[in-house]
Amino acid sequence: MIQYLTNNHEVVLAALQQHIYLALLPILIGLVVALPIGYLGVRFPWFYHPLVNVCGVLYSIPSLALFVFLPVLLGTKILAPVNIVVALTIYTVALLARTVADGLRSVDPVITQSATAMGYRRLRRLFDVELPVALPVILAGLRVATVSNISLVSVGALIGVGGLGQLFTRGFQLFYLEPIIIGIILSVLLAGLADLIIVLVQRALTPWTRHQHGGGAA
């Protein structure tokens, strides 16, 4: 395995780089798109159930199908990485829009009401109170989206653009274990690292969640 790495480190590195790019760009775009959509699902209660259902259907489209079909829809080349980025952005939005809505809905109405009674206007209340309180839920969703994106990128290899997934197809075609194992290990490590970073960000942003069981006598 070391041998394979030393002989092919350029290929592996390029695959890893592409993998990171293909997995994380959709996360950023998806988060920016999902926040307002999720908010609408809370602002207009009638919109919540359609939102959840549409997100569910989008999420159930097989990634392979989406990768293959997007070029037809967008007029892009079949081998263009943008297909993967758009497809994974769709999954990210499908997952996060619902998470954002659920996170905002999970904010205790007592808290929003006391904010209103203290004289918060709607928009400022959203940014000062509701979003921060919903942050743990939203970040938990972000962890799921990031980790599953990183593992989904590989499927793109079936249409020729798949980051570490290309190591799988190469090994599969040549009946050669090393690249497959290296690909899996790197993919899992990458997911673990990304997950860890989000956890650290969460700890920094939500210090109050670490003190759930304090409380002395009155």
Binding site: G56, P62, S151, F168, G171, F172, I184
Partner: protein
Amino acid sequence: MNLSYLFDAAHWDLSAPGGIPQLILAHLGYVALALLIGTIIALPVGLFIGHTGRGSFIAINSGNAGRSLPTLGLLMLMVTLLGLGLTPVLIALTVLVIPPILTSAYAGMRTLDRGVIDAAKGMGMRPWQVLFKVEVPMALPVLMSGFRSAALQVVATATVAAAVGLSGLGRLLIDGLAVNDYSRVLAGAIVVAVLAVLLDLFLALVQRWIVSPGLTGRDQTRSRRATT
């Protein structure tokens, strides 16, 4: 968008080996087997961890660890190791369904109202009675939601079986791609998505049937109306 492949009656011939009905059947076969094996493995482990509280670390982290395993890589690894066939595909898909089932079984058990369990013990129920008459029924809503998300994932992911030469709806995607027949690819994508939605609806009905109305709040709206 070209829907000609999907609406061509010839592709819906029940007996044709490459026809859509046969592909659906094969696809559902993979899904059902993976869910069955995954449940047999993950459910007892999840219930045990949730009931005893021992090994929570595994339950909490298996979800993310499982998600981070690239199914395609796992599948190709298994095929390279074991050769072509159903077994490597089932292993890869089963690995996919174990984490959500295990995590939700654990979470369902952990979030139970401790007071109710205390009451059950206080009434003289034996440990296995507490587990099967109180804890599991109360954990069912959470458990079912984990099972449903596992089912959705495996329906979508079972398409990759075609990448290693097996049947299932992935055939429409892989073969369509190979011959640049996008109508066929589209047909595959639509059928899988519809199948996923139908399966989820079916599981929602099952959930309605096996979960006590006292837990779902379905009856609460009615009683609230009655009191006002």
